[in-house]
């Protein structure tokens, strides 16, 4: 029987805080950019970290999903002096930092387990 907790958490926003690889990339990009984390900069950083081409659409979708989960917060910056709209700047929230740290710890454990095997095989 599925647990009632899982039934209640049917909504995407309410699922447990396990990050996917792309989510980790986006959160790391936001973290590394600090105060200057907005759409195109995050996109550029994600491409640099992933070492492959990534579409801007997938970055925006992930940013929105992470905001829904409460890992990221966004707010508009100042409007540019020469006119136009204010950009949205993103920053990591405490929940995002926790989730990212947890993901890194899992990766580290995996690495520690797998590395001796690689050495043995080669």
């Amino acid at each position: 029987m599925p647990s009632l907790k899982k039934m209640a958490a049917g909504d995407e926003n309410m699922k447990e805080d396990v990050l996917g690889q792309f989510e980790q990339l986006v959160l790391t990009a936001v973290l590394s950019l600090g105060e200057d984390a907005y759409g195109p900069k995050i996109h550029e950083k994600v491409i640099e970290l992933a070492e492959r081409e990534v579409s801007i659409g997938s970055v925006y979708i992930t940013l929105d999903r992470l905001e829904d989960k409460g890992h990221l917060a966004s707010k508009p910056g100042r409007p540019p002096q020469w006119g136009g709209q204010a950009r949205r700047y993103y920053r990591l929230r405490a929940a995002g930092q926790r989730a990212l740290r947890q993901a890194f710890e899992t990766s580290r454990r995996l690495q520690q387990t797998a590395e001796p095997m690689w050495e043995f095989k080669t």
Binding site: L4, A8, A9, G70, G77, A86, R87
Partner: protein, 352 residues
């Protein structure tokens, strides 16, 4: 977060106009992001398409409201009741689907007459477009023009009224509040289903073990009363169970008030003796007809007892008692989620 960058060449005006036209209102700031890509027009169009589709997908998901979809489908289908089924289904489905995109576009919506008029025009256009498509693909499925015109006009007028009301109630985007409210809603939905099962069980037990009118009335009435008394007494407050309308001053955060009220309507603690008593009373009342059946059997007066039904109801009672322990755990989890949302709000308020 200051804008210190130098002015960059703006994207061609036609791209800007198209993006503005298709971009949801809440995501128009992304138009500014596109100015960071000094690309030739065809590549910029590609980037703009990615941005627009991602934003529409997000806001369609954020603005989606199942109750609203049901209400709109019902209201829109009424004028098509006496038309052939398949064309009516196609017309209603296309209007409801396009209105989801419209919801994403105007989220959270203002509920103004102008917005309601635009809603009805968008919906009507979707119905007409679906019929035009049918005219090309399967002309036999097209609706009669007179029926189509009548249905579209009446349907869209009622839908625009309904949407004007719904949009007045659409809250601003607030992920913390929505996540906490989602847990509260799901928990209460499960509790309500469980309560309905308990009430069904008690009525079934009353039939299985016949008794006097007064006994039957008390057995039907007491479980619900004792459940809500147990719930109310453990919330440790004199407010109503679902009280939301507190006086709001400039020092109060209305979302915090709302979430605290939600906490009071959940099963919070189990160390209040009176609440525990009513919880026990609830299960005793639920089991009473079954206990009385056993008593009658021992007494030798169990001629009218429906024993297979009593056995089934006993199994159901054990299952419901087990489910109640799980529901209490679910309430604890929902409370944790609400507390986390409140803590995140406070942390956010301090950081800004």
């Amino acid at each position: 977060m200051n804008e210190t960058r130098s002015p960059k060449p703006a994207p061609p005006r036609w791209i800007e106009a198209i993006v503005k036209w298709f971009m949801p209102r809440s995501a128009t700031a992304r138009l500014e992001d596109l100015k960071d890509y000094p690309l030739p027009a065809p590549q910029l169009v590609w980037k703009a398409a990615g941005t627009v589709s991602a934003s529409n997908l997000t806001w369609t998901r954020r603005a989606f409201n199942f109750e609203r979809v049901l209400a709109e489908s019902f209201v829109l289908s009424v004028p098509f009741w006496w038309t052939p089924l398949l064309p009516a289904v196609i017309a209603v489905t296309s209007a409801v689907a396009v209105l989801r995109l419209r919801d994403a576009f105007i989220y959270p919506g203002e509920g103004t007459p102008a917005e309601a008029t635009a809603d009805s025009l968008v919906g009507a256009s979707a119905i007409v477009a679906s019929q035009l498509l049918l005219w090309f693909v399967a002309p036999s499925l097209m609706m009669e023009p007179a029926l189509l015109a009548r249905g579209t006009v009446i349907g869209m007028l009622s839908v625009s009224l309904l949407r004007a009301y719904f949009h007045l109630k659409t809250p601003e985007y607030d992920p913390d509040r929505q996540r906490a409210a989602g847990w509260f809603k799901s928990t209460w939905r499960i509790m309500a289903m469980w309560l309905v099962a308990c009430i069904t069980l008690i009525f079934s037990s009353i039939e299985a073990v016949p008794g006097g009118l007064v006994r039957n009335f008390l057995l039907g009435f007491c479980p619900v009363m004792s459940f809500f008394l147990a719930l109310k007494l453990q919330s440790d407050t004199l407010q109503g169970l679902f009280r939301r309308h507190e006086p709001i001053t400039i020092f109060t955060d209305p979302v915090e008030v709302e979430l605290s009220a939600k906490k009071n309507a959940l099963w919070q603690r189990s160390d209040i003796v009176l609440s525990q008593c009513f919880e026990v009373v609830f299960f005793v009342v639920l089991a009473f007809p079954l206990i009385s059946a056993v008593w009658r059997w021992l007494d030798g007066s169990a001629a009218h007892v429906d024993w297979p039904q009593v056995a089934t109801n006993f199994a159901a009672l054990v299952t419901l008692a087990y489910l109640w322990t799980q529901i209490k755990k679910l309430n604890t989890e929902a409370l944790r989620q609400i507390d986390e949302a409140l803590a995140a709000r406070r942390e956010e308020a301090l950081s800004t």
